[in-house]
């Protein structure tokens, strides 16, 4: 069967739009890094290769990412085992709590760490007083600080992936191993771990790519320590646009190499479907003392993980200029929140972020839905290409896309597909849209693949046309997937910092930029209040997506 002409036309159109948005800007960066006004040149490549700072930044990016993976695995894997395999008091609540770092947008998490462990942070001051030191016990700076934030925010990937994989194991595998005389360690080593490899690979890849693209932590805490994303931004601020492009290319190559290395890593069904037999039963810890100890450890850890959230909340009640050297703020008011709503200058970024994220999400969901339906129908040629294009932005760090968009859309040349968008309202929604295509389309594609194909045929046999089938059958069944994809996209766009910092204008400044400028003016209360608002909206949207989206 061949596709109807209309579907082919649609596929062609979508292919063209995706190529224009996803491939074209990066290709332009690649080309312009090899040119200058006089023509082709390798000058900037040579410049890049000759400067030790560039190599240091690239090496910094690589090792920070590798160590982030190791640290995240060391926290996330044991935690997943503990909470998925053992029956602990309050285990269900705990299982949800330890995923909470996920609702902190990157910059907000960094700000919270600053309040906690920075030179005048709560914990630092506490330690300083307890030990009677005259100086802060540590400085939250450099590679160590970056790794601390990465470990905190990225262990969630390992935790969620491994937990899902553990839940999806057939429970009788454990019993089969036991009945064959295998003890706990041998069962773990020979039966359980081998089946976790796909999940571990997936989590490692996700962590590596996130750490590689991470910008907020290195930007705030890096100091003299540079990773490639911060290096690119500073090069660009210095006006060396073409060198920044070469740097961008080097970061892209690193990301693609990682993707190639991990190409075997599997995709994990986080809903834990696809097993036969009952799920594994949790192990009851029999010894009372051990139960108390393990539960205490779990809850202590949860407290530690929630400390940043609580800190933000506390600091958000501090009025400007009232908190200097005291260990705890002396005055609390709701003034910061009132300002956020009443002062038009303060309210603007909030409204900006909301509409930017909403527009980007609506567009991303539409494009991803169209692409997913076309690529899943298998009757349209080019479906695989559409799918690849939708997934590609995931492999490219946000900084790279920001540079690519800034390059592609700063020139007025409509005949080669370039218009001036930089400095307008539309560049940020466009950037968010592209960055959101992979997560949105992944969620929607998973939903479509989960649909029974005979439903379409049944609708057709009952005389429903393509449009009616889509409206009455496909879309209602896809609702969970659409909501999941949309909520992920919205939350990511709402908290975005890395692309915003390079593309925003004063009129479209999003929350993250306002947090940064509040911090610079030492207005910590307002910065924290923005952070709390972001956190609450993100949490609410996630909860809504998960709730209305169902567990499917």
């Amino acid at each position: 069967m061949t596709a109807p002409p209309r579907a082919r036309l649609l596929a062609g159109l979508l292919l063209a739009v995706l190529a224009w948005l996803v491939i074209y800007p990066i290709a332009l960066v690649l080309l312009e890094g090899l040119r200058d006004p006089s023509g082709w040149t390798l000058r900037y490549v040579r410049l890049f290769l000759e400067r030790p700072t560039e190599w240091r930044a690239l090496w910094g990016s690589l090792w920070i990412s590798v160590v982030s993976v190791i640290l995240a695995a060391l926290i996330g894997i044991p935690l997943a085992f503990l909470l998925a395999r053992y029956d602990l008091p309050g285990g269900r609540v705990l299982g949800g709590l330890v995923a909470l770092p996920a609702v902190l947008p990157p910059l907000v998490g960094v700000v919270a760490f600053l309040f906690l462990y920075g030179e005048t942070g709560f914990v630092s001051l506490l330690v300083q007083r307890l030990l009677g030191l005259t100086e802060p016990p540590w400085r939250l700076q450099g590679a160590g600080a970056i790794l601390l934030v990465h470990a905190y925010s990225m262990y969630v990937y390992f935790y969620l992936f491994v937990r899902a994989a553990l839940f999806s194991l057939d429970g009788s595998l454990y019993e089969a191993a036991a009945s064959l005389g295998a003890g706990r360690w041998r069962t773990l080593r020979r039966v359980v771990l081998p089946q976790l490899y796909p999940a571990l690979g997936g989590a490692a890849l996700l962590t590596f790519m996130t750490a590689l693209a991470s910008f907020s932590a290195p930007y705030i805490f890096g100091g003299g320590f540079r990773v490639m994303p911060t290096q690119i931004v500073s090069t660009r601020l210095n006006g060396d646009d073409r060198l920044a492009m070469v740097e961008t290319i080097s970061l892209t190559i690193l990301a693609l190499a990682a993707l190639w290395l991990f190409r075997g890593a599997g995709n994990v069904d986080l809903a834990g479907g696809g097993r036969k037999g009952a799920g594994p039963e949790r192990i009851r810890v029999r010894s009372r003392a051990l139960r108390v100890a393990v539960a205490g450890l779990g809850w202590g850890l949860a407290g530690l993980l929630l400390l940043p959230h609580l800190t933000l909340l506390l600091v958000s009640f501090v009025p400007l200029g009232t908190w200097t050297t005291e260990p705890l703020p002396p005055v609390y008011t709701l003034q910061n929140y009132v300002t956020l709503i009443q002062d038009p200058v303060r309210a603007r970024p909030l409204l900006n972020s909301l509409w930017l994220a909403a527009v980007a999400t609506a567009a991303a969901v539409s494009i991803a839905l169209g692409g997913a339906i076309l690529s899943a129908s298998r009757r349209v040629r080019g479906g695989r290409v559409i799918e690849t294009l939708l997934a590609l932005p995931w492999a490219v760090p946000g900084t790279v896309f920001a540079i690519a968009l800034a390059t592609a859309f700063s020139v007025h040349a409509p005949w080669v597909g370039r218009v001036v968008l930089v400095g307008t309202l539309w560049i940020l929604p466009l950037a968010y849209l592209i960055r959101n295509l992979p997560i949105t389309s992944r969620a929607i594609l998973a939903g479509i693949r989960g649909l029974d194909p005979s439903l379409d045929e049944a609708a057709a046999a009952l005389g429903a046309g393509r449009g009616r089938t889509l409206r009455r059958i496909t879309l209602p069944l896809l609702r969970p997937a659409l909501l999941a994809g949309a909520s992920l996209a919205f939350v990511t766009a709402l908290g975005d910092f890395v692309t915003s910092i390079m593309l925003y204008t004063y009129d479209t400044r999003p929350i993250s930029l306002e947090i940064l400028s509040s911090l610079r003016q030492s207005d910590v209360g307002v910065a924290a209040a923005y952070g709390v608002v972001l956190m609450v909206i993100s949490g609410a949207v996630f909860a809504f997506g998960a709730d209305r989206g169902g567990s499917g």
Binding site: D170, E175, A176, L180, A182, G183, R190, Q195
Partner: protein
């Protein structure tokens, strides 16, 4: 008390339900016992108590007099075939079958030899290198059996071993399963909700309901002398009607059913029920259709379907009881008026129980 495997007064509670209620069983060495019951009857929990995956609240599990109740499953040396087989998907057939051998320290050439022997036993020679996903359902079932048998366990436990197979495949696999177990001669406990499976595989069958053992016996005993209406109804085809016990006769009992009196043969060893209302459980072959006898119970044929060379008739008596009767297919057309009489030819097949059903 020379039983090889003994379950002694096992009790298991889950929250406020009594899943297993004082279950005691004794198996001779090499005996096959089938636990038969509807879902929720506690048969699977009993098996899991045996395997050690659940700990009983009361009672003991003994093998050759050795108390295993608190012994971990790892050390019981019981083999088990799981309902979904639980084959390790990342290991090939050879590694799956060798897994339990390595647990008891059998390695190298000796392990390979015993793996090959186990695979030969289930007729899967040469399948050692296959991946689990490449096997059919029936082959997976046999690998699961070979894996359980390879370490030469003391007891073999089977949890609904055939429920995952196509009906067409089930009968053949059932026979193969029985042959393999017979050849090995291992003491076996099997859980099933299929009567055919229990009757073909079990030397004895234990019928369970609501956590209790209702009756333990050979298939013949269960069919010919059910302990109560539940066992009678669960095992084999039967129908029931309320009757009045009038008194006893030389050969059994006299009952009254809608004004008609029948003499019913007693079951040897079963007490004659006291006069008064009773529940009659009757096998279809224990009744016959008749046209002219004056003592016959008048009824109307409401349905007829063919079972082999004879037909199963459903008739409704004038008093409203629905009964099944086996007769020649031409005995009566649907809608015909007929009379019902106990069939002397068979003897037995009519059981009387007190009215409360126990």
């Amino acid at each position: 008390m020379s039983a090889f495997l003994r379950l002694d007064g096992l009790v298991k509670r889950f929250a406020d339900t009594l899943a297993v209620d004082r279950v005691s069983l004794a198996l001779d060495r090499g005996e096959m016992l089938a636990l038969l019951g509807p879902s929720g009857s506690g048969k699977t929990t009993t098996l899991r108590l045996l395997a050690g995956f659940e700990a009983p609240d009361e009672g003991k599990v003994l093998v050759e007099g050795e108390d295993l109740t608190r012994v971990e499953p790892v050390s019981r040396r019981f083999g088990m075939v799981f309902q979904h087989y639980a084959l390790f998907p990342h290991l090939d057939v050879r590694a799956n079958v060798g897994f339990g051998l390595e647990s008891i320290g059998v390695r190298g050439a000796e392990r390979d030899r015993r793996v090959a022997r186990s695979l030969a036993l289930v007729d899967l020679d040469g399948f050692g290198g296959r991946r689990i996903a490449q096997l059919s359902g029936g082959q997976q079932q046999r690998v699961a059996l070979a894996r359980a048998l390879a370490p030469e366990p003391r007891v073999l436990l089977l949890d609904e071993p055939l429920s995952n197979l196509d009906p067409t495949l089930r009968e053949r696999t059932r026979r193969e399963l029985r042959d393999v177990i017979r050849r090995v001669g291992i003491t076996t406990v099997l859980v099933t909700h299929e009567q055919d499976e229990a009757f073909e595989l079990g030397d004895r069958v234990a019928v369970m309901r609501e956590g209790r053992l209702e009756q333990v016996g050979t298939p013949d005993e269960l069919y010919g002398a059910p302990a109560n209406a539940f066992v009678g109804g669960f095992v084999g085809r039967s129908s029931t009607a309320e009757v009045e016990v009038v008194g006893s006769t030389e050969r059994g009992t006299r009952i009254r059913l809608e004004g008609v009196e029948w003499d019913v043969d007693g079951v040897p060893g079963r007490p004659v029920p006291p006069p008064g209302p009773a529940l009659m459980l009757v096998r279809p072959e224990a009744l016959r259709l008749t046209q002219s006898e004056p003592a016959a119970l008048p009824a109307t044929v409401t349905g007829r379907r063919f079972v082999g060379p004879s037909a199963l008739f459903t008739v409704r008596t004038d008093g409203g009881a629905a009964l099944d009767v086996v007769a020649a297919p031409q005995a009566a057309p649907a809608g015909a008026r007929v009379g019902l009489m106990p069939s002397r030819r068979m003897g037995g097949g009519i059981h009387l129980f007190p009215k409360d059903g126990r």
